[in-house]
């Protein structure tokens, strides 16, 4: 199976300088149907990469190939954007319409879907994010989490093969962000949508298939969440902090209490402790 997105030796700089690049020789692949996480400190270039993935930003050197289409081919940019949906951090800056259903319809209008067909698509995607009953509501009156779900629905309406979440849960409380992530996870499982989650919450990293660590515009490491969690050098260099359960198990391992080196999430930690108690 070939890769869905192929980033190859991409360079980019916002101020057109040829020395300090904001994206510096970045290469990675995204496989179809995988759940990928991109982590990195503030200013490491995560959002810039996100915009590269759907052709908003074209690398000054190197290439981004999405589903066989080079992002620099201007007349096909449309196709790439439809295939790779971007969800941003602040839903207020991405919702264009005043009424929920009209915002969800925005991309469909742009794609020239006939008016008579838009309604059923809007209903379907609003149902997917659990916002169908809010269809006629004004966006103004919604909570942050609800607005984020509307923003996701607006992207889902394009029926993209891949969704990129650029810190889409950063402004949400734990419950809302859990709900939003769950929606995305279900999409990944049920419709095999490729998910690229850009985040600095390490709990979210744990649920990815693969992680890319970015630092100052360079890919610092790639691997499974477990590999990354165990790589102390990478973690400290990228300024990342393990979730508390992981730190807890790591300390237990250091003191020779448990055999397992790390736990990715609470469930795993509970399992480790249960095994420990059983053995005692």
């Amino acid at each position: 199976m070939g890769e869905f997105i192929k980033v190859e030796g991409a360079y980019f700089s916002y101020n057109n300088s040829n020395k300090d690049f904001d994206i510096n020789n970045v290469s990675f692949n995204v496989l179809p149907g995988e759940m990928l996480c991109i982590v990195g400190a503030n200013g490491s270039g995560k959002s810039t990469i996100a915009k590269m993935l759907n052709g908003i930003i074209i690398p000054s050197k190197g290439s981004v190939i999405v589903d066989g289409i080079d992002s620099s081919s201007a007349d096909l940019a449309f196709k790439i954007r439809q295939n790779v949906g971007l969800v941003f951090q602040n839903p207020d800056n991405q919702i264009v319409a005043t009424v929920v259903q009209e915002d969800v319809a925005f991309a469909l209008e742009n794609l020239c879907v006939p008016s008579s067909e838009i309604g059923s698509i809007v209903n379907r995607v609003l149902n997917m994010v659990g916002m169908l009953s809010y269809k006629d509501r004004l966006v103004e009156g919604l909570s942050g989490g609800q607005k984020s779900k509307v923003a996701i629905a607006g992207v889902l309406a394009m029926n993209p093969k891949c969704i990129v979440l650029d810190e889409a849960t950063a402004m949400l409380d734990p419950k809302s962000s859990y709900e939003v992530l769950n929606i995305v996870k279900n999409l990944n499982r049920k419709s095999n949508t490729t998910i690229i989650n850009i985040t600095h919450r390490m709990q979210e990293v744990a649920m990815a298939d693969r992680v890319i660590v970015l630092n100052k515009g360079v890919v610092l490491a790639q691997g499974s969440p477990r590999d990354i969690f165990l790589n102390e050098r990478v973690l400290s260099e990228a300024g990342l902090c393990l979730p508390q359960v992981s730190q807890f198990v790591k300390l237990l391992h250091k003191d020779g209490i448990v055999n397992e080196e790390i736990a990715l999430d609470v469930d795993e930690c509970v399992q480790i402790l249960a095994n420990l108690l059983e053995g005692a």
Partner: protein, 269 residues
């Protein structure tokens, strides 16, 4: 304060007027304004007001809101009233002081104009209270559609209007936040002198502009990400289609207007 402005003048409801096609509502309002100019019998005015008051009742909009509107326009109303009263006509003079004179014709005109203005505001209120600002804007934007033939960016203008309506409340909220932030930094808000006032306004305006540009930047990226392209045709999800109900509304409105004239023709005052 900001919250009360967010919905513009729209009054949430589900009456037949709320659901009616905004284009028809605008058209009817337009004819209504026109009709008002030709009505000059108190009886018609009273009947007109009665019908409108009943409509307010049906739409469950407190009539008080219409009166509040009039209060906010009081200055203009009184001013035009004065102009009419003192300079409004020739003929039999009933009062005179220096260059000011009041004629009988002027008194009558003033009364009529007052009635007209009153009915105008109350009647237009019915349109703005029952129609979402966005729908109003869209209906008006649609009026430009025929100009597309002449390369007029009608679609872009519609999008622009709807985005502005979406972002006005956000900007209001932001302004309020900035005012608080600047106050807490010790910016003098109560300064009386022009210099201090200008300084205060600049201290609000600069951050507001900066944040608006940032917002606009993000919005542009989000729109492009969702396949928005300038200069390309797009379809429309919500099209205001004319239904039978809208035709009935229109016919009823015409009957109402005609009856205003008929009542006028058969009454003495």
């Amino acid at each position: 304060m900001v919250k009360s402005i967010t919905l513009g003048r729209y009054f949430v409801g589900n009456s037949f007027l709320h659901r009616a096609n905004p284009k028809i509502k605008i058209l009817v309002t337009f004819i209504y304004v026109f009709v008002l100019f030709f009505i000059n019998k108190i009886c018609s005015y009273v009947f007109g007001f009665f019908v409108i008051a009943v409509l307010y009742k049906i739409c469950k909009i407190p009539l008080k809101m219409a009166f509040d509107n009039i209060k906010s326009m009081a200055f203009i109303l009184i001013f035009t009233g004065f102009i009419n009263l003192f300079f409004g006509g020739n003929g039999e003079i009933i009062f005179k002081l220096w260059v000011f004179k009041i004629t009988k014709v002027a008194v009558i005109t003033t009364v009529f104009v007052a009635f007209r203005m009153f009915l105008l505001i109350v009647g237009m209120g019915l349109l703005t209270y029952t129609t979402l600002p966005l729908d109003l804007a869209k209906a008006i934007g649609d009026a430009f559609t025929p100009l597309k033939k002449f390369h007029f960016p009608a679609g872009e203008i519609s999008t622009m209007i709807s985005i502005s309506i979406r972002f006005i409340p956000l900007l209001m909220l932001e302004t309020e936040k900035i005012i608080f932030a600047q106050k807490s930094r010790g910016v003098d808000v109560s300064g009386k002198s022009i210099r201090k006032k200008v300084k205060f306004i600049i201290s609000i305006l600069v951050p507001l502009l900066v944040s608006s540009f940032k917002r606009a930047d993000e919005l542009a990226v989000a729109m492009e990400s969702r396949c928005y392209r300038i200069g390309f045709s797009r379809t429309r999800y919500i099209v205001f289609k004319l239904g039978v109900k809208d035709l009935i509304l229109f016919v009823c409105a015409i009957i109402f207007f005609v009856s205003l004239f008929v009542i006028g023709a058969f009454s003495w005052f």
